[in-house]
């Protein structure tokens, strides 16, 4: 999907308990970087946009350190899977499934995202 640059009124929405929760304008997201959003129940989500414009969202809390920082990590592609590397101890998490690529026993929540 390619979007025209002046689509500022487009919003990013997150699937939460069967409902769509509006997070921010699409234009606030830099390709290749993330932002954090506060969810109604106090949890945090990290939302990313890749260079093609695809969106991803996972839990913001780094399970290895407990800090809420995954949104501040660097993103990339590993064997076709989009991932973010935690900025603290560098473990990578698959952005679509939330699975940790460096330790298959660890996984963070992944959220569905859409543009509306």
């Amino acid at each position: 999907m390619t979007l025209a640059p002046e689509t500022t009124d487009l919003k990013i929405e997150l699937a939460l308990d069967g409902d769509w929760f509006t997070v921010c304008d699409l234009s606030t997201l830099l390709p290749g970087r993330g932002v954090a959003a506060l969810l109604p129940d106090g949890r945090q989500a990290a939302i990313f946009r890749d260079r093609c414009g695809d969106l991803f969202a996972i839990d913001n809390r780094d399970p290895f350190t407990g800090a809420a920082v995954l949104s501040r990590g660097l993103t990339g592609t590993h064997r076709g899977r989009p991932f973010v590397a935690s900025p603290l101890l560098k473990q990578r998490f698959d952005l679509t499934s939330g699975e940790c690529l460096d330790d298959e026993t660890v996984r963070v929540t992944a959220y569905q995202v859409r543009i509306a």
Partner: protein, 868 residues
Amino acid sequence: MTATEGATPTIVLVGHGMVGQRFLEALAERGLTATHRVVVLCEEPRPAYDRVQLTSYFSGTTPEDLSMTDMEFIKDHGIELYVGDPAESVDREARRVTARSGLVVDYDVLVLATGSYPFVPPVPGKDAEGCFVYRTIEDLLAIEEYAKKAQVGAVVGGGLLGLEAAGALKGLGLTSHIVEFAPRLMPVQVDDGGGAALLRTIEEMGLSVHTGVGTQEVVVGEDGSVTGMKLSDGSELATDLVVFSAGVRPRDQLARDCGLTVGERGGITVDEQCRTVADPHVFAIGECALASDGRVYGLVAPGYEQAETAAATIASDEASFTGADLSTKLKLLGVDVASFGDAHGTAEDCLDVVYSDSRAGLYKKLVIGRDGTLLGGILVGDAEAYGTLKAFTGSVPPVAPESLVLPAGAGESVQLGPSALPDDAIVCSCHNVSKGTIRGAVTDHQCTTVPEVKKCTKAGTGCGSCVKVLGQLVNAELEASGVEVDKGLCGCFSQTREELYEIVLALRINTYQDLLDRHGREEARGGDGCETCKPTVGSIIASLAPTIGASGYVLDGEQASLQDTNDHFLANLQKNGSYSVVPRIPGGEIAPEKLIVIGEIARDFGLYTKITGGQRIDMFGARVEQLPLIWARLVDAGFESGHAYGKSLRTVKSCVGQTWCRYGVQDSVKMAIDLELRYRGLRSPHKLKSAVSGCQRECAEAQSKDFGVIATANGWNLYVGGNGGATPRHADLLAQDLSDAELVRLIDRFLMFYIRTADRLERTSTWLERIPGGLDHVRDVVVHDSLGICDELEQLMQAHVAHYRDEWAETINDPEKLSRFVSFVNAPDTPDPVVAFVPERDQMKPDLPLLSIGMRPAADVLEGSAQR
């Protein structure tokens, strides 16, 4: 209460220490947890933890970090673990164990893994308040607590554990003494020569060592707590705290009480299968066992082997434990100490090869048999060669033994690569992995990286001392088997960093995407790259920005997405998600007005302040949304970014120099400031540090810097390639007696040549050691211009200097960039609730428990927990 269950046979393990845990893993690996009921009685209030690393508790490792027990594992295998419930008696006739809680378990197989207890010599006063032993996490917690009100501490026993304990006391801020009965430290592991080298180094660290004296009495004050010790030479030592570390004894009381055979000097007697000689239903493993070779092993590796042996025997597999190697390599108080094989030369007719330099705290001895076989050795101060030497033990090394112990640089020294090792040489003694097995992992199991080999063979996952040799072996094996070892930067680029630099410079490529799509690996083109190449390319683009027509501001356009989080927020990320702020203080010189500003800002934002090791001030605990507010005030007061976050110039430290110091021969402060201002903001493969000293006394420690300058009567001497940090290296002299202008020109060239040719995250010290030709080559290039590139190098630096702008000043004036400094995109005014603080020593520190629980219900907020 009686816990019995149908007809499933039951294995009861008494003692959940390191060896007990390993035994459980071995049971699981052999499928025995599926066919047996497994009951574990654990005396300590916590399940098995890493006792070997116990002392690391004092350097910040938490009891949770030390844990070796994965509760998932226990659960998945249906193991019944009773924590804090020791076995009290065994009825061998009825095959029944009773625990303290009253729990009764019938067993088919009983395994004793009760470990040891610390031996406390029967001196008067030994039980007074203030006397401790050093074995469990609880012991350490008690010592830590007591040390708060103590000034002096003494350790009885100068063996391996005694030294560790003394180091820990020193770390707790106590004046520390070591009292050892034998005439030298570590009498079991090292000989007199090694002891002397160790003594010197340890005394230099400020510990007092008393050898050849025994402890006769612990002197107790009126309130019943320790006040001193009487020694066998008649002297008295004043101390507030005593730690006994005079050896350990097997915990065999339970076995004695139920009539099992124990050795004369303790230890439950077992056969080669680790089965007790008195009862085929009972096994003993680990430090409580007296092995079939008549020894009680006080190290963890032999215990692991016994655990495997017992599990195999229970599974009716063949295995035996007939004895083990007592090799050890330790880092005690920062000193390498290793001994292996027949370290004391007990074999008939053996000869020693000794290299000793007590001034440098070095002692190396090899024990060689008549036929040239390497039998063992001792290394103190430098145990680099331990892995290789230990593996050669028992064979005739392919080179003369002398050459193996001479220090590097002493002419004759030879580096024996691990490729020379025989296949049956044990490379990892913690897990008993041979070189052959490691090669097999590469050739048969297609492992291509060290982490894969570790996973496959377990090698390197214990004490870690073999990891270096492991890495060398894996690479050698890959190369030998024709796999071209991929020297590419990462999965996205097949080029090295140096090659990418040349491509970017020659083709004037100024975006990452362009570089990836045109020069990346086929499969990576069009993708999103990875966390390795993005910052590397980001750094190359930043180093060359003015020359290749890129923006010199790292948060502009695409460059923002390439930066590590620190560079992206222009601050250093801390463990709880807050940031630290380090303004530049060139040369370490700062006027009172500016000091006051820093103090005011720290006070107003409630930041933790600390003087750094780099002669400046760090303010910790800023939330991301506070960074712009803090910097607005700093910039206003004339401060600039200190780039503590960047792979770039950090600080140029200075000594006070000629202006004030009676010895100074040049103005070192001015030179340091000039250099710091010239190279500030220069992005490089790794961080760059520098220092300028006003005379040869070297108070600024310039010889430990990437480029260091020392004043002479005639000008400046320039040293390069120094390093403090993990692998310290003294800098090499590049040129002497330079004028100011010559000095600057040479540094310009040196830095640009380094930036051009170094690998990613390669400090100048490792770079200098790696590049072909080493220092001589670098001198040819930058002093004698042998490649004819000096003009270009100087121009590149000119361009950097001319285009430098302060990143923070630029950021606070750019609303779009500022909008990124929020915790939450949808709630810009809400701070991250995980970032909270608790008070400590008049300041604050991160609320660390909060990190593990994630969120605290409002009512449950820790007292003092500040939600600033």
